[in-house]
Symmetry: D2
Subunit: 336 residues, 4 copies
Amino acid sequence: MIVVLKQNPDAQQLSTLIDWLKEKHIEVHTSTGELHTILGLVGDTAAIDADLISALDIVEDVKRVQEPYKNANRKFHPENTVVTVGDTQIGGGTLTLMAGPCSVESEEQIVAIAKSVKASGATLLRGGAFKPRTSPYSFQGMGAEGLELLKIARQETGLPIVTEIMDTAQLPLFKDVDVIQVGARNMQNFDLLKQLGRQEKPVMIKRGLSATYEEWLMSAEYVMAGGNHNVILCERGVRTFESYTRNMLDLGAVPVLRKLTHLPVIIDPSHAAGKAWLVPQLSVAAVAAGCDGLIIEVHNDPEHAACDGPQSIRPETFAEVAKKLHGLHNYLSENA
Amino acid sequence: MIVVLKQNPDAQQLSTLIDWLKEKHIEVHTSTGELHTILGLVGDTAAIDADLISALDIVEDVKRVQEPYKNANRKFHPENTVVTVGDTQIGGGTLTLMAGPCSVESEEQIVAIAKSVKASGATLLRGGAFKPRTSPYSFQGMGAEGLELLKIARQETGLPIVTEIMDTAQLPLFKDVDVIQVGARNMQNFDLLKQLGRQEKPVMIKRGLSATYEEWLMSAEYVMAGGNHNVILCERGVRTFESYTRNMLDLGAVPVLRKLTHLPVIIDPSHAAGKAWLVPQLSVAAVAAGCDGLIIEVHNDPEHAACDGPQSIRPETFAEVAKKLHGLHNYLSENA
Amino acid sequence: MIVVLKQNPDAQQLSTLIDWLKEKHIEVHTSTGELHTILGLVGDTAAIDADLISALDIVEDVKRVQEPYKNANRKFHPENTVVTVGDTQIGGGTLTLMAGPCSVESEEQIVAIAKSVKASGATLLRGGAFKPRTSPYSFQGMGAEGLELLKIARQETGLPIVTEIMDTAQLPLFKDVDVIQVGARNMQNFDLLKQLGRQEKPVMIKRGLSATYEEWLMSAEYVMAGGNHNVILCERGVRTFESYTRNMLDLGAVPVLRKLTHLPVIIDPSHAAGKAWLVPQLSVAAVAAGCDGLIIEVHNDPEHAACDGPQSIRPETFAEVAKKLHGLHNYLSENA
Amino acid sequence: MIVVLKQNPDAQQLSTLIDWLKEKHIEVHTSTGELHTILGLVGDTAAIDADLISALDIVEDVKRVQEPYKNANRKFHPENTVVTVGDTQIGGGTLTLMAGPCSVESEEQIVAIAKSVKASGATLLRGGAFKPRTSPYSFQGMGAEGLELLKIARQETGLPIVTEIMDTAQLPLFKDVDVIQVGARNMQNFDLLKQLGRQEKPVMIKRGLSATYEEWLMSAEYVMAGGNHNVILCERGVRTFESYTRNMLDLGAVPVLRKLTHLPVIIDPSHAAGKAWLVPQLSVAAVAAGCDGLIIEVHNDPEHAACDGPQSIRPETFAEVAKKLHGLHNYLSENA
C-alpha cells in the first residue's frame, strides 16, 4: 500500500501514523519529494483499512498495490479450481453447457426441455423458480413448486440443476439444488453471500450490472471466507450507454479473470444480448475467449415464455449451437 | 403501447396477436407503412407484458408510452406525498436534515453526535448498525446492539432514527425503527422490498449504482403495491467512468422525479462525493435543485471512524452547513 | 416515426401539425387512447426532424421506427461491402490483419516491422505519423516525415498502409495513403468526415469512446453521403466504469453491425485492452465473433516504444497469433 | 510517480531503469516488500512518460502522484483566472449569463433574441453558425453568413459573441469572434486545440461526452501550452446509462474543478437536459454549486427552431430565470 502525504504534513500526526502502522507490523519506507512525501507500506496490508488512512488530515491519497481478495486470488492459489457437480466438472479445461428456460412453467415444459438440451450436450439444467422481475406486476416465478419440478426434471434426465436464490429465507428450500445461483442484482447482497459461505453447495455468482472485477471477486471472497470454496463466476453483460442490446457482454473478462483468479468463468450470452438472434454468435466468441462454459436460455415456445422470451433460443437452435461450440472447443484445445 | 411489426408480417400470426389483445380489452389501431406496420394499443396496457410481445416472430420492436408504475406515478396522484415521522414531516415544502455517523460505534459516540446534530437543526438521526461492506474483512457494523444504541440516542434527543436493513431476516429487529433504509446495493432485492411493503414503517430507497429513474420508481412500486405508501427516494450518486469522486451526484434527478412521482426526494451528498470537503457545496446545490432534504454523514472523529471516514464532516462543519441550508431554503421559498 | 401526443392536445395545433406533415407527403394515422393519442407517420420520415416535432407543445414524445442512416443501412443494401486496397480485400469472408507500431519512429524501425509482420501474414501495415495524445507534453508523432517513412516501408514490402488523419488541413498529405483512419476522438469531427467523403481513399472510422452503434453509423453516413462508399468500421473498446483495462472491447458489436450494416468490421484489441498480454486471447475471440479483420499494434521493442508500448506485442508473438487466427478463421469458415 | 515492480525483478533491468531515471534528474527511493518492490520517483516527473515505464517487463504498475497538467493546475497558480471579454468579466465572483439560440437563422431572429436576452441581464450572446449535427441530413448551420449576422447582433446590442468553431480551416473567420467555443465532440481535436493556443481570443472548452476531469484539463493545457491562457471550461452533461435526459449534468464538477484548477467554470443546462422544462431548476442548482456562469439556449419560437428546439426556453422564461439567478447569486455572495 502506498500513502501519498500532502505537502508539509504535520510532524506530530505523521509520527502517530507511522507508530500505529508499526504496531500492526507494517514496515514504512519514506520517500520525500518537493511536492509530496510518499510512504511505502510493506507487510500484510490487507488488514489495513485504506479508507481509514485516507481520512487523515495529512493524507492526500492512498493507493493499493496488493489485491484485497485472498481466497479468490490466483497469486495465492495458482491451480485452477474445478467444481464437481454430480458426474460433471466445471472448470479445468472442460466446456460446460448449462441450458434451460428462464422460468419453470410446468412439469411438462421443464422435463421436455431438459430431455432436449441433454440430448444436445448440456450437462446442467437451468431454470428459474424464484424470479427477480423489475415490475411487481410481472410473473414472479413458481417458487417452491418450481424447485420441485426442477427436481423431477433432474430425476428424469440425470442433469444436475442450477437455479437462483433471492433471499436468505429461501435457503432451506435450496438444500437439494446442485448449483445455487446469485443473480446480478444480488451480487452485493452480503447477508446472502455470507449464508452461502456457510453451506457446501457450489455457488455461481453473476456479475452485478456495473460491478468492477474487484468488487465481483470480493463477492466471491465473501462466500469463500465462510469456508465454501466452490464458487463459479458468471459474466452476463454490464450496463453502458448503449441500449441496442440489453447489456454489453464483456468477453475481455474471461482472460482478465484467468489472470486474477483460479475460479471457473461461465458466460451468459442470453441476458447480455436480450435478443435470441445474437446468442449463437456470442456463444462462439465466448468459447474462443476461453470461458469454462455457457449458460443459455432455451425455450420450446419462446413466443409464449412467461418471461425473457425475446432472448431464448429454441431447442433445435441450441442443438446446432452446442454442436458448434463443442467442435470449436475441441479445435482450440488441440491448437492451443 | 406501440408495436412495430416487421415488413410483410405473417397474416395469420398478426390476426392471432390482435385477437389476443382484444381479449384483454385492448383496442388496436393499425397504421400500415411501406417498410413497417405500426399497431397503437389503447387501454390498460400496464397489464400487458411488453417482453412477451417483442418475442413474437412478426414483431420488430415494442415501445411503451405509459409508465409501468402506477402507485408512484404523479399522473395518477398529483398531490405531493408527505411522510410523517414522529413530530417531523418529510416532503411538502419542508427541508429535512438527517445526520449522523456512518456506523454506530458506541453509546457515547452516537449520543454525542445525536445531541450535536439536533442542536444544529437535524430532524432525524442516521446511523448504521448493519453495514454493507465490499470486503468481508472490513467492519460489518454492530448489528442488533447498534440498533439498541440508536434507540438510546433517540430517547436522549427525541430524534427519530433512520437506519439500513440488509436482509428480510432482520425485519423483526426493525419494528421500532422510524425510517427503514434500503441501500443502493439492495435496491432490487425484491424479496426485501415486498416484505417492506407489508409493514407500515416509512421506507427510504436509495438509488442503485446504475439504476434508471424507471427502475428506481419500480422498486418504490414494489413497496407501494404491498400497501405501504410511505416511501422516500434517496439519490446518492451513480456510477460512471469518472473515478475522482466515489460516484457522480445526479442533481437533475430532483426536478425529474418531481415530474414523474409524488414521493419525497432526499439527497445523500456524502456517499456521492466520498470526500468530506465536497459535502457542503453539494448540499447547497441540492437544496437549490429543490430536494426535500439531505442525509449527511457526521462524525466527531472522522479520522478514526470505523468506516467511511473520508466522507464524514465534523459536527462543527455540519452546524455551519445546516445553518446555510436552512437560510437558502427560506430564501428560495420566499423567492419561488 | 411515431408521435405520442400529450393528453387533450390543442385541436388547432394538432391540425397544423397534421397539415404540415401532409405537405411533406407523410401519411398520418391517428390512434386515440384515454391517456395518449398516437400518430403513426408513414412515408419518407428520414427527412423529418424528430427534434422539431418533439419541441411542439402538444407532443410528449417522438419515437423513430426507421434507422436514420440510409447508405450504411443493410436494409437498403443487403450485399456485404468489400473494400479493395491494392491486391487485398477487406470484407466478404476474408480475414484482414493490419499490423505495425503505434508510431513510426525511424525508417529502420518501420521497415523492419513491416517485413516481419508481412512474413507473418499481415496484409496491411499500420503506423501512426500524426498521433492524438492526451497530453501536449507527450510525443506527437513524426508527422509528414512519418508518412514518408511509411511509404518507404510500403515500397519495401508491398504492404498497403493505413494511418490516422487528425485534421482537414492534413488531407493533401494523405493523397498517397491507402486507408485513411479516423480516430475515436475524431469520430464526430464532422468537417473531417465531410472532406473524407469527397475523396476516394477508403476510410476506416474508429468507434468513439462512448458512441452508440447509431452514432457510429451516422459518422459512416457522413462519408458515404459525400459519395465515398469505401468505409470500414473499427471497434476499439468503449469507456465504462471498469478501469482495469483501458477500455471494454464490445465484441457483440460484430454481430450487431452485421445486421445493421453491410460495411466491413475490424477489431482493434490493442487499444481496447491497453495491455499486451490480453491481445492474443481477445484477437481469437474477435475472429470467432465474426469480424472481417484485426488491427494489432506490433513493436520490435515495446519497452522503448515512443507511445503505447504497454499494449504492443512483439513480432514473434504476432507471428504466433496470426497463425492461430488464420487457422481459426479457416476452421470456422469450413464449419459455418 | 510511484513504480510498482513485479516480484523478483531482474536486477540488470532494474539497474538500467534507475540509471535512466537518474539521468533525467529523478531521485529514486526504493521500498522492498515481500510481494512487491516500490520505487518512489521524486523530481519533475511530468516529463516522464508513465506509459513507457509501465511497458517494462519488470514493472507491474505505475501510479501518478502529481497531476499531468501544469498551466491549468491551481497548485501552481492559486489565483482564480478572470477572462475579460469586452466590458464583461468571466470568473472572479461574477455571474456570467450567455444566452441565445442554438442556431443563427436570420438577422431578424438573432437581433431580436439578442435584444431580449440583453434586457434580461445576459452579458454574452451565444449562437451557432457552424453546427455539429449527428446526421448529415440535418441543418448544418448558416456558416460564415451566420457569423456575420452574429456580428450585426453584437453591433446592435453591444453583447460580445460566443460561437463554436468546428475545424482549423475556419479559424480565419473567427478573428472577430469574442469567445471561441470548442464543442464536446471536439474536446480532443488536438490540432484544433493547438491552433487555438496560438491565437489570443478566449477559448471555451466544453467537456467531452465521457471525458474525465483530467482529460478535460489536459485539453485546456493544450491551449495554454501554446501561450493562450484565456481558457474557460464548460460542463454540459456526460453520457451515462440513463436516457431520460439527453445527458447527466455533473454539478459536482464545479467544486471539483475549483480545487483542481483556477480556470472559470460555466454550466450549460440546456444541452445537459435536452428538455426546456428542466433548464430553470438546473440553472438555479448550478449557481448554488458555485459556477461562474451559465450558457442557456433561448429561442423566440422553439417549436420552429432549426435545431435543438426541445431544449430552448422562450425569452420571457429566460427573463424570469435570469432574475432569479442574479438574486440567488447575490444572496449566496452575501451569505458565503
